[in-house]
Amino acid sequence: MKWEQLCQGLAEEGFLRLACDIAPRLIQGTATTFQLTMLAIGLGLAGGILLALGRVYGNKLIYWVSTAYVQFVRGTPVLVQLFLIYYGLPTFEIRLDSLTAAIIGLGLNSAAYQAEYFRGAIQSISRGQMLAARAIGMTNLQAIRYVILPQALRIVIPPWSNELIYTLKYSSVAFIIGAPELMATGQIIASRNFRYFEVFLIVAFIYLVCVLIISKLLDIAEQKLKIPGLEMR
């Protein structure tokens, strides 16, 4: 049985009928939102760890470059960044489709914020551990890889969950450059049937459910990764 036929049974013009009719398009929008969020957060994770390490352990040049990046990105609105990437880059013959532009824009943006979370976590681990690791003959990189990061990555989970949730919600601004995510889908539907309140009520509900699911998963991850007896001082 086709989806449209399934909806036929519901009262015409009613809320449930509307929800049923637009569900397939909203689900597609939600899938795009997920794709956008996950790729952006992944890009941000890789970038954020590198930037944080650069800001804590880097030499003068690396410190300066990564600090400048973090300040620039945090100091400018994400909408402006998206416009620069999507409408600005074609000036240099660089053309990205809107979804790619949104992923890169949100990813670069998230990297700056994640860098600060990671920096905080790394710096909360006492200096003595680094010195001890060096004293038993580890190189700097080994100490970071085997002593500092395993602890820092655990500490960072609670604040980092915030970043994931923010990115999911922030991804809604990508509608402005035409990325077909959930917000854009809602707007396109509402601009045709003028039932803004009902359509966006459903959109809000979908975002809420996504956020609740993500928070729960992160809670579980935090519990699973916990090392009994390890406490930070």
Binding site: R95, D97, G178, A184, Q187, R192, F194
Partner: protein
């Protein structure tokens, strides 16, 4: 800690004070809120000084003078205007709205004031014509919530021609994307497309007109609770009788649509509107646009 509380109180009091100041009662004459998506020349656009210029807005200003009320103009996204009118956040929607059955279900329209067709805009160097522009797989741009977007959906995509319709916040963004080679064509109303061609200095061209024969109307809340439609319709009739209408049309849609020129003329002549003399305004605006001598207020 106490310092934080103290500062918190100060900030809170300031915020509340600002809020109350914003809510202070307005002047006594009736003021209506006209909402428009001011990014669609020659019907409405924002000039270099940030002033709202355009045919729709002048018609609104002149009717207000003729009918003795005041207006404030608000710049809103095109597809937000109808919901804002429905919700009573705007009293009049004036943004080149085509009168459609779908829209008539949720708002009321004035008498039609303009007729327009859709046009197909491409890059001049693309070699596309009105047929090849809609080849399956091509990317077609339009503004969200417009009849242009609807036309592509209903008459191209639903007919089984799988073009990719990309929807934008405003038409100028779609035109920019066309210039940036991210789109094959843009579908939009003819007068605005002509302005885009002119402004692009030869980069864009119109390859065809689709005879949709749309009629534009001003729109108000369903049932017209503020009794605006009789005043708007009457005002338009009066404008036509006093040949204000013809002069405006000549100024904004004349052979040589030139945004810089009309912005200049408008800045020189808007004083006539402040003096409540719409006839002198329209006459001089047409003269200014035609390159004839005109009288500043």
């Amino acid at each position: 800690m106490r310092a934080i509380v103290r500062w918190g109180v100060v900030v809170g009091v300031l915020a509340v004070a600002l809020g109350i100041w914003g809510l202070a009662p307005q002047a006594q004459t009736q003021v209506f809120r006209v909402c428009s998506d001011i990014a669609w020349p020659p019907f409405e656009w924002v000039d270099a000084k940030g002033e709202f210029v355009g045919f729709d807005l002048d018609v609104m200003r002149i009717i207000a003078i003729l009918k003795g009320y005041k207006i404030t103009i608000q710049n809103l996204g095109f597809d937000s205007i109808i919901p804002a009118v429905q919700a009573g956040q705007c009293d009049i929607g004036a943004s080149g709205f085509t009168i459609t059955e779908e829209r008539k279900k949720v708002v009321d329209f004035s008498d039609p004031y303009w007729e327009s067709n859709q046009s197909v805009l491409v890059r001049a160097d693309s070699g596309l014509n009105i047929i090849t522009a809609f080849k399956p797989g091509n990317k077609i741009g339009a503004q969200r919530g417009t009849t242009g977007a609807q036309w592509v959906e209903d008459n191209v995509i639903k007919q089984g021609i799988a073009v990719e319709l990309k929807l934008y916040e405003t038409y100028p963004l779609a035109e920019q994307d066309l210039i940036n080679k991210q789109l094959h064509a843009v579908v939009e109303d003819e007068p605005a497309a002509k302005v885009a061609v002119k402004a692009s200095k030869g980069v864009l061209k119109i390859v065809g007109i689709i005879m949709t024969e749309e009629r534009f109307g001003f729109l108000v809340r369903k049932g017209d609770p503020l009794k605006l439609l009789p005043r708007i319709n009457d005002g338009m009739k009066e404008m036509k009788k006093k040949s204000i209408w013809n002069n405006l049309v000549e100024a904004y849609f004349g052979v040589d649509v030139n945004l810089e020129r009309i912005t200049q003329c408008w800045a020189d002549l808007k004083g006539w509107l402040d003096k409540n003399q719409p006839e002198a305004y329209a006459e001089n605006l047409a003269a200014c646009m035609a390159g004839e001598s005109y009288k500043k207020p």
